[in-house]
Amino acid sequence: MNFRGTLPTLILEALEHEPSHGYLIAQRIKKRSQGVLDFKEGTLYPALHKLESEGQVESFEGVEKGRPRRYYRITASGHGALTKDRAEWRALSRAVTLILGEA
């Protein structure tokens, strides 16, 4: 399913409770959407870099199974952006549901 423009918000949501690396973020989004949001994983990292340059996530070196991995965690600015995106999404979703009817 095409969900262009929402990937940064989904990434922030995936990082809301704990830091994670890219592969886990991708799997978390796919699992939580029950496989509906099946995006190409090569596009995840450019979105992560953009969030990092905007100061919404920060990265650090971690280790998983003895291998070094780059982990990402959400910042205070990222939490603020996520709260704003959630409110906007709820308003949009409510409006579209009013027009199209309940699924």
Partner: protein, 215 residues
């Protein structure tokens, strides 16, 4: 022999700077290994796992387009490198630093001299040249360390540069087709460097900006 992943990475890192390309290779390699392990633990053979992991990455050219929007390209890294080299060369050589600071002042004094001697046109051209040289040579020494101050400075710099150029050569004949090639060829390197810096500013967090990005 190149593997499927090598081919994907080659396309995805096209035109990226050496550092950006290395970063992409590292993160995609890590991602690929995790995806491959997950596929193998799900019962896939090694070959199948390789294919699944590369397929999950998607189109390499699409990834490359997105990477070029957020990571430094080789052209942008070149502009940064040259800017840093110039700043280093000026700062490490006191006589060059003072020459660059004194030159626009000397030109301004010469302009005043010509005006006082009655050569208004020569004085006007030298004054414009002095303003232009001042803007180009003395800016690295100005205390501009915040993005908002830098935005104001850049706006003033371009207004002053274009104004000085127009004033020196008289707008009426400068803007005719006859001399537009001269204007374009003079401003093109400056405009291209400025355009590249705009792109770099969008990509680098402010904390990592070298001095040249503020100017």
């Amino acid at each position: 022999m190149l593997t499927e992943l090598d081919l994907w990475l080659k396309q995805a890192t096209c035109q990226l700077s050496i550092d950006s390309a290395a970063q992409v290779r590292t993160e995609i390699q890590e991602h690929y290994e995790s995806a491959r392990e997950a596929a193998m633990s799900g019962g896939s053979t090694a070959d199948e796992a390789d294919r699944v992991a590369v397929r999950a990455l998607g189109n390499a050219q699409a990834a490359n387009r997105q990477y070029r929007r957020v990571l430094l390209t080789s052209a942008e890294a070149g502009v940064l490198r040259e800017g840093n080299w110039e700043a280093g060369a000026v700062c490490s050589s006191p006589w060059l630093k003072w020459t660059l600071l004194a030159l626009p002042i000397a030109v301004l004094f010469a302009a005043i001299g010509f005006v006082l001697a009655g050569s208004i046109d020569k004085g006007r051209a030298l004054l414009s040249g002095g303003i232009g040289m001042g803007l180009l040579f003395t800016t690295p020494f100005l205390p501009i360390y915040t993005p908002s101050r830098a935005r104001v400075f850049r706006l003033l710099k371009w207004v002053a540069l274009l104004g000085a150029l127009g004033w020196a050569f008289d707008w009426s004949w400068l803007l005719t087709l006859k001399w537009s090639w001269l204007l374009a060829s003079c401003l093109w390197p400056l405009a291209w460097t400025e355009w590249t810096r705009i792109s770099i500013r969008r990509k680098l967090p402010v904390a990592k900006w070298p001095k040249q990005l503020y100017l």
